[in-house]
Amino acid sequence: MSSQAPVEPATQDPSVAASAPTTGRLKRYWHLYGLAALFTLALILLWEVIVRGFDVPEYLFPAPSQVAVALRDDWSTILAPAMWVSLREVVIGFAIAAVAGVGLAIVLHMFGPLRRAVYPLLIGSQTIPIVVLAPILVIVLGYGIMPKLVIVALICFFPIVVNGLDGLRSVDDDFIHMMKTLDANRWAIFKRIEFPGALPSIFSGMRIAATFAAIGAVFGEWAGASAGLGYVMLQATPNLQTARIFAAIVILTLIALALFALVSLLERIFVPWAARGDAM
């Protein structure tokens, strides 16, 4: 109601200058995300038109409007409770991977022989499909949150370790030489040069991992669960509630995007010197 009032005087007010940065920011956001938003909107529209035009049945491929209806109708009863379960798995699993991944990268970096012993094994471990591993973990760890956390953490762990190690090793020898003549011991070189220098790489690894985390939670729930978005999808499949499955996918996507945005935000806070133009 009063939203229009402050706009009018602002045009003849000295505070016009103050509104300039806001306009600048809007312009920047438009530049960064405007095309992506338009393109997504166009795709959704196209999808709606095709599904309606060809009269595709909802159980085969629901239109965006039908997904939206499912989102609204099932939100409070089914989707929201499931979302909280999956979100918890994603966030805790990711946090475990971040701590363990950065920790292992540091340990492997500091002890060369250990790195040479463990690194090939680490890469080999990535060739084991998580989908195969998930049921075994459920058998061992039960139907609770534990196997899901392990699966999410396993999926997220790898890009964080690899990027972290790369970042720690990428420091120019000239920096190391200079620091040695400036009385730096191994620890000082790590603390003052290698670790801060590796932070941008560590954050890239975490951004990649953030997009994997939601997939990990779904795998874990498919292998055996009684709650969560993956469980909702599994239950909806035999009942041909395809719109509900899509609604769950939309929420999972939003969880992944939110985690990605959170990591980007943390990067801006902790790595301000390497500020990148594109936040996402």
């Binding site: 120019d172 000239d174 920096f175 030489h177 200079m178 620091m179 040695k180 003549t181 400036l182 009385d183 730096a184 011991n185 000082a188 003052r192 040069i193 801060p196 932070l199 790595v271 010197w273 390497a274």
Partner: protein, 268 residues
Amino acid sequence: MSPLGQGAIQGAATAPNPEESVGISVRSVRRTFGEVVALDGVTFEIERHSRIGIVGPSGGGKSTLLQLVAGLLEPDAGVVNVEGATDAKDRLARCAMMPQRDLLLPWRTALDNAIIAMQNRGIPRVEARATTRPFFEHFGLAEFEDVRPAQLSGGMRQRVSFLRTLMADKDVLLLDEPFGALDSITRAQMQEWLLRALGDVPRTVLLVTHDVEEALLLSATVVVLSARPGRVIKVLEANPETTGKSRREIVTSPEFVALKEQALEAIG
């Protein structure tokens, strides 16, 4: 008195052995990297607290020589002596290196970059900052203490880099192409500035550069190295009279021009 004459920097000028008169002595030094002979039979010597310039073509082993003196490398043959120290570890303890590019850490402010050697020695940050702050004004960096390197000009970055080297409290300064990345006007200004700054602090200085004029201007002795394998092809006693003269007056004097011609002829 200038701040350079007091406090931490004064302490730096105290050598481990006051009897020692050798600054840097390099005897018949040879160093290879696999098949490549970087240096062969290099010999020169300077007194403590004098300045030596090493000039020569790129890839002629100048940086190798600098790392040998610093104690970052050991020679395959020959002896490197830095103020009485011949062990790599002891040489490293006596030398501070100013690298080719300024190599300021982008995540640290100018002042925090300058104190890194003090922090490495275990001095608390607050104390290190307090000790170093006065030098910012002396070095024409006043009010840029809390600015990140990306916001500094090339010449300012180089001055912060030099200050960082100075705050290491070492008697021997190794300067590796200190102004290589600067444009010629800034470079000339920085040479003049460094000439004054070094005049204030008694230090043994080894300067590596590909610029003959820079070496002759800043050093008492200039050693001309050949292309690989690096050998000493000429030693010039430059020692320009610099007190009370501008850089332009020095480099255009007939004696200086004659020396420069000798050096350039030796390089070929």
